[in-house]
Symmetry: C2
Subunit: 195 residues, 2 copies
């Protein structure tokens, strides 16, 4: 009986270990992917400039694109740092789980807002706005707008990665807490008057 | 001994119930607050139009502001619906926890992006952009820009509420799962070779 219980607990422990290793590998890869994507988005945007008869236009002329470059840089740096921290197997602490959770959320919001405001600028540059007399800049700077669009599209893939990473870091953090009533998983018998 | 254990479990259960009731009340209030804020942001934006010697300008002339109006409407509707669902005390199921988690995340992204792109438009309207010949519209339509700014500021308060709501719904969802190794809280004894 005691032997059976030990075997059972060893098997359960092994399963949990395999699951944890699998999750750690998946998370490390999911943190390395945005590094590559952010660098590509960054480089495309940094090299985005066009000169023609109408004048010259560079990414640095537009505030939203400068913000996207900074956000991509921060994101690439954080992604590589966090991938290294996650890859090293060691017991997860509460403060580490909270740090990852908060920073992942913050990065998601940062990169989403960078993508959103750049999309708005490209949209305005393509369509213009007659009521506020803003011209369709992309008519004269087609190449510039196409490169910016490519960079923004990659930024949205990064946003998706970070949405999933936020999910993983929420799981890592909150699965350490007890479930709210009545799904208390500590095995406490909940009296009937509570339900 | 058995009596002590029963008492202990009853006290733990009562504590958990009080905590759960407190959390539910806080969550309900936090879901009702965005209803009021979204409606205010919506009304300010809907009434935002100005006519003068330079012409007339309405929120509906600008895509980003139309998006903000729609996002605020959706957010107000979802907030009131979810507040009602949360307020009714009943056992939380896994599918309900997942639905809240995913919808709260989605709403956070929706309302954040609405705030971000509208901020970009107002920023451009105030500052203009000489390199792409976009004029400083707010120079002629100051009142219009001030109202839009107020509406956007409220939208960012809603974003903050939703960031906290996302945290609560993550907690509700993931605290039902077991913790990853080595913080297994099911009481399984983890063999030494795992650490």
């Amino acid at each position: 009986m005691g032997n059976d219980r030990m075997k059972e607990s060893a098997v359960a422990g092994e399963d949990a270990m395999n699951e944890s290793t699998g999750l750690r590998t998946a998370e490390t890869l999911l943190r390395l992917l945005p590094v590559a994507l952010c660098v590509v988005a960054l480089v495309i945007m940094l090299k985005d400039s066009q000169s023609n008869d109408f004048g010259s236009l560079s990414y640095s002329d537009i505030g939203a694109f400068r913000y996207l470059v900074h956000a991509s840089g921060i994101c690439a740096g954080y992604s590589i740092l966090s991938a290294v921290v996650v890859a090293i197997p060691r017991p997860s602490t509460m403060s580490r789980a909270w740090t990852f959770f908060l920073l992942d959320q913050l990065l998601t919001y940062l990169i989403l807002s960078a993508g959103a405001i750049s999309t708005e600028v490209v949209y305005l540059a393509y369509k213009g706005d007659a009521s506020i007399t803003w011209s369709q800049t992309c008519g004269s700077f087609g190449g510039f707008c196409r490169k910016a669009t490519a960079s923004i599209a990659i930024t949205f893939i990064v946003t998706l990665c970070y949405a999933v990473l936020s999910l993983i870091s929420s799981y890592r953090l909150f699965s350490k807490y007890d479930a709210p009533v009545p799904c208390n998983n500590k095995g406490i018998e909940i009296p009937a008057f509570q339900t």
